[in-house]
């Protein structure tokens, strides 16, 4: 009786774990079995956002013939194991694509000096074989602010953060700064939802902002982005896609998406590794490096007047050329 029971329980746990994790088996591309690029993600890759950016960056390297691998849905507690596994499999550049992988990355990096690692810190914490990479989304928030200043009827802009951390805070402030160049009366309302993925709470927070007059949103976090889109469907207004093309998620409301193109940075990491120049680097890839792009929603393009579109594109070009410097306001 007892043994049959434990067998059943164990079977169920295994079934759950296997199904939950069945997508995280490293999918290695055929190529050389040494070297290559691996990335570890916190959620599913098709999130139209943060994880998709990492996945697409790795895939772009794969198309160039680099041996690549990725793992999805890796919990923080499992990160060290997965990183170690990639080290054992001989990958030379291993990216831990989350701030929360910090401890695991530094721990495995000391155990595995032959590989190079990178983590999404954005705080310039590095080690001999650990890179940190910045997420200067605020740079792109500035030209989006120019658009928002023109599109918002109330002049009230909303910023919805998972938490009010520097990366997020700077986005809202840059949005406001950009908007003020075309509408001096523009104002910003910020809300921290207190959760990165809870769509239900984020939607209520966005509705509260709509009640305060907000009709243009920028978001920091995937939950906040989906919540703002759902709120806009109820109340009207425009939403910014967060770190990936979200046009298809909110076809009538996502007017522009802030797209994170990680290919140039991942390529640089790999080049530095191969050239033996990798020494505690801090990668900072922004608009100038083509890592941040704006993707307009084709369906809503006619809602953006031609002169506004030109101003936004000019602002992007000015930032790229260094003529406009977007201020980083962390708090």
């Amino acid at each position: 009786m007892r043994s049959r029971l434990s067998f059943l329980v164990v079977l169920l746990v295994i079934a759950g774990l296997v199904l939950a994790g069945c997508t995280q088996a490293p999918a290695a591309a055929p190529a050389a079995d040494k070297g290559g690029f691996a990335i570890v993600l916190t959620g599913p890759w098709q999130d139209h956002s943060w994880n998709e950016a990492g996945y697409l960056g790795a895939q772009a390297l794969g198309k160039k013939g680099v041996r690549i691998a990725f793992s999805e849905n890796v919990k923080d507690a499992d990160a060290a194991r997965v990183l170690r596994q990639y080290c054992d499999q001989g990958y030379e550049m291993i990216v831990a694509h989350s701030f929360s992988y910090q401890d695991a990355t530094f721990q495995v990096a000391t155990e595995c000096p032959k590989a190079n690692f990178a983590w999404a810190g954005g705080i310039n914490r590095t080690a001999k074989n650990v890179a940190d990479y910045d997420q200067p989304f605020y740079e792109a928030a500035y030209p989006i602010g120019v658009l928002a200043g023109k599109l918002s009827k109330t002049g009230m802009l909303g910023a919805l953060y998972g938490f009010d951390i520097p990366v997020c805070h700077a986005m809202g402030e840059a949005l406001l700064a950009g908007a003020k160049t075309v509408n001096p009366n523009a104002r910003l309302i910020t809300t921290a939802v207190g959760d990165w993925v809870d769509v239900a709470k984020a939607k209520q927070a966005a509705l509260a902002q709509a009640d305060a007059g907000v009709d243009y949103w920028i978001e920091c976090g995937e939950g906040p982005a989906l919540g703002a889109i759902e709120a806009a469907k109820e109340r009207g207004g425009y939403v910014t896609g967060y770190v990936g093309d979200m046009s298809s998620v909110g076809p009538d409301h996502v007017v522009v998406s802030l797209v994170w193109n990680l290919e140039p940075m991942f390529q640089k990491m790999l080049d530095d590794t191969k050239a033996g120049k990798f020494d505690a680097p801090y990668y900072r890839f922004g608009i100038a490096e083509d890592a941040l792009q704006l993707k307009f929603n084709d369906k809503l393009k006619d809602k953006v007047p031609a002169d506004v579109m030109r101003t936004v594109e000019q602002t992007m070009a000015d930032i790229k050329a260094g003529k406009v410097k977007v201020e980083f306001v962390p708090k």
Binding site: V13, G16, L17, T23, G43, Q46, T191, V199, A200
Partner: protein, 326 residues
């Protein structure tokens, strides 16, 4: 901050609307858990049951809404959510009642199973973030919805809100006004004595577990089919765990669960609104948002402190019943 922004009817209506919306899924799960725990079965797997209900309900509503059953597809989706919840309940019941497994272990198993199977099924069958159900339109109750303020808050909701209110009453009636409810409570307090007086302990516990998980499945389905009209991994946001806390908070009483769920919902709603509104005038928040975010949890701790040490819990909660062992 300018208090006139808050002390007006428009604000209060919006606040109550948001609070009720946030309360419904958690309340349904908590109601179910009250029935289950009253019979002495601890279902820690509530979060997994909600995910199972949420994903099954969403997929059913999504696939049916373009077919011949389009008119009732959303309600059918909710019904499938209920069935999925009961299926999870059946697994738990077999493990903990028939096989007398440890209820804590079995419950945690159910969480892992629900999340694993749920996410797997969604990803295999739909997988995108763009799929949406049609949801349910608001159903104004004629006459009642004309009452100023109250009508707008309470009587212009989608059907699931009325259903939830009715279920609060029904669960209370079942537990405290029927022989059946008496049997459930007796089994939860003293299964041996109940057995002696001719109550089928295992059958009663099976029924209570299935009723409980049916309601939890419904709660998950309401969130995905009606409220957000989407499914993605992590969408349940740990609501099953909140519901478990709510049961203790409510001292295993449906009426108090209603009050508690509304309080949690309102606390969340109010903090988002104060965050937003406090910035209209000065452009900066006057109350640190971290303080507002911790409001619901402070409330929980206060209530738990107030009830500390009192024997509210069913006496046999969490203990498998073995005939003749007591």
């Amino acid at each position: 901050m300018d208090w006139s922004l808050i002390l007006n009817w428009g604000f209060l209506i919006a606040l109550a609307t948001a609070g009720i919306t946030l309360a419904v899924p958690v309340l349904l799960a908590a109601l179910g858990e009250i029935v289950t725990e009253r019979a002495g079965v601890l279902n820690l797997g509530l979060d997994g049951v909600m995910v199972a209900g949420g994903v099954a309900g969403f997929m059913a509503a999504f696939y049916l809404q373009n077919g011949p059953l389009a008119g009732i597809s959303q309600w059918l989706g909710l019904a499938v959510g209920v069935l999925a919840g009961m299926l999870m309940g059946l697994i738990l019941a077999v493990l903990t009642i028939t096989l007398r497994a440890d209820q804590v272990v079995a419950g945690v198993t159910l969480v892992v199973l629900g999340h694993g199977v749920g996410n797997y099924l969604y990803r295999q069958n739909i997988g995108t973030l763009t799929a949406r159900t049609n949801g349910l339109p608001p159903l104004a109750l004629p006459g009642l919805n004309r009452i100023p303020v109250l009508g707008e808050i309470l009587f212009n909701k989608d059907g699931t809100v009325y259903l939830t209110a009715f279920l609060v009453f029904l669960v209370w009636f079942l537990l405290f006004r029927t022989t059946w409810g008496l049997k459930i409570r007796a089994v939860g307090e003293n299964p041996a004595a109940s057995d002696t007086s001719g109550i089928n302990v295992n059958l009663t516990r099976y029924a209570a577990t299935l009723i409980g998980t049916a309601l939890a499945g419904l709660g998950g389905a309401v969130l995905t089919v009606v409220q957000l009209r989407m499914f993605r991994e992590g969408i349940m946001g740990g609501r099953g765990w909140i519901a478990l806390a709510l049961v203790i908070f409510a001292r295993w009483r449906p009426g108090l669960a209603l009050a508690g769920a509304l309080m949690f919902g309102l606390a969340d709603a109010i903090q988002y609104r104060v965050q937003a509104l406090s910035q209209i005038e000065r452009g900066v928040g006057t109350i640190p948002y971290e303080f507002l975010l911790m409001l619901p949890y402070i409330l929980t701790i206060l209530v738990l402190l107030y009830r500390a040490g009192r024997g509210d819990a069913p006496e046999a909660l969490g203990r498998p019943y073995v005939k003749g062992s007591d």
